[in-house]
Symmetry: C2
């Protein structure tokens, strides 16, 4: 993962170097989404993510052919449905973190060379169904199989395109004196209940749009927690040129969890983390919790109940 | 490939079934690009393609680590540059086939688990450089590595987004009485000159835009030849509800080729095939050749010099 993060930083610097040549590119790599202006003046949000068998989702122990069930009594088709759901939901979560609304998506699948044809149909139907469920119709795609000489795991790629009226909410606007808030609970992926949150989370699309509507320009910075609270908070801090101090006793742990340090290592909360001078206590039925504040300096520190502070800037989950 | 084509047809039918729920989707899967209307009224063109080591581009015989060179005296970095070029060019060719102009692109790479970090940087830089070269800046992406337990080949995915003023040129408009034209030459991938055309072709972006400008509504149908002239012509024929008759003696074979039947099996010409009542003889320096006509019926027939006709509806190249 360190190698991937370093590579992504390298890519962001390449893209930044090109931005002068393309004034319609409003926001290049380095945020939840890129932002691009169309010739007619719309702002598009764009994000792409991959779900790879064995990395982001479990591999069925006996392979994709029968006999099933493998994992937690799921049938093969139920597991494929969760693959499709996660593939769509991760990108929807990125749109939510900018305050945007989905427009459409494109999906590719690279299939293991012996992937059963009927499983591919189940996967295609599930992808379209989950896209439609989040008002993000899958309008295009590509299907290829790995060659038998170069086998590979089931790999799904989803590009989601969204729209937003007015400026997107990015990572770089946190201000000294802001409070730090998070939606929902953290640590859900760690619960010992089967497949867990990381395949079944609900992207905070409605909440992102509500926050943008209610807070307006006071919504200074936002990100979805996809790699861990410490790591994602440090991205806001670095982009904004500030430090973030979180209060362990305030963290809204998922019911059943007591160890905040372990919960911080959960990379796939997909909650919205944001910085603002104020915030509502809830968005519909989703709680909003104040968990810390923005200060001068850099990095992310956790204030422990003992009074100690712990640097958690790199606390996250390795995919 | 038959399995993939059947799956793609299945997906097109799923997407068609959803289209009533999403009136902003102008054109769902089944053409070179999807077309979507933004809230502000712009028409976006969207396409996604994959380049998979061993399927769409050669695998270095000794793997991605030294020692190189493997293929045709190319260095590793030169081969990676061709991977990046092809990844971008295939999608640009799809935009060209609708008459559109590039807006931006998103790229993912799934790396073999032992892929050298410095090679990943070369690949990232090359992808951005080729995107910029076709006025299609890469604004976002994702990088992941295959887990060592599930190794896979180098896999690149590119989503390109374009724009178009007015209606896109799709496949379904060919009319009885139209002539059938093709840009450039066919069969170039078969030439015994090293890596060949399929990694170095020039997408016909300028030509697609010029045709749309010069022919206006007379440009009835267009496609890029990416799976073989027979197969791609049959897609126009099926979508338009017509038959296409091609004249073997008129086919503009790449210099050095004499066997038209073999040239037809070249799947990666990336020339533009279009149907119109008339056409210019050239677009800049790119020749345009009349190769047949649109008739009543269905399928694609090749009229041979002997007077025989041959059904070439499924003549293409298996990736």
């Amino acid at each position: 993962m360190a190698h991937e993060l370093s590579l992504l930083a390298h890519i962001a610097s390449i893209a930044a170097g090109q931005s002068a040549a393309f004034p319609h590119v409003l926001l290049a790599p380095g945020d939840d989404c890129a932002a691009v202006r169309t010739p007619g003046g719309d702002t598009l949000l764009l994000t792409v993510d991959q779900v790879i068998e064995g990395r982001h989702a479990p591999s069925p122990p006996g392979g994709w052919h029968s006999p099933f069930p493998g994992i937690d009594s799921l049938s093969r088709d139920e597991l494929l449905d969760l693959y499709a759901r996660k593939t769509i939901a991760r990108s929807i979560s990125d749109l939510a973190a900018m305050g945007g609304q989905p427009l459409c998506a494109l999906c590719t699948a690279t299939l293991p060379h012996d992937f059963p044809p009927e499983a591919a149909r189940v996967l295609a139907a599930a992808t379209h169904r989950w896209g439609a469920a989040w008002q993000c119709p899958v309008v295009g795609g590509d299907v290829a199989s790995f060659a038998s000489a170069h086998p590979g795991p089931l790999t799904l790629t989803l590009t989601a395109i969204g729209t937003i009226q007015g400026p997107p909410v990015h990572r770089a606007g946190a201000k000294h004196g802001d409070h730090v808030y998070i939606t929902g609970h953290i640590g859900g992926s760690l619960l010992p209940s089967g497949l867990g949150h990381h395949l079944t989370f609900e992207p905070r699309l409605r909440e992102g749009a509500l926050l943008r509507h209610e807070l307006g320009p006071d919504l200074h910075a936002m990100i979805d927690v996809s790699d861990g609270l410490g790591l994602d908070a440090s991205r806001i801090a670095a982009a904004s040129g500030v430090a973030i101090e979180l209060d362990e006793s305030q963290l809204p742990l998922s019911p059943g969890l007591t160890d905040a340090i372990r919960a911080l290592a959960d990379g796939e909360d997909y909650e919205l983390l944001f910085c603002a001078p104020h915030a509502p206590k809830a968005l519909g039925e989703t709680p909003v919790t104040r968990i810390g504040r923005v200060t001068q300096g850099q990095g992310v520190r956790l204030r422990r109940p003992s009074g100690q502070t712990l640097d958690i800037s790199s606390h996250g989950w390795e995919h």
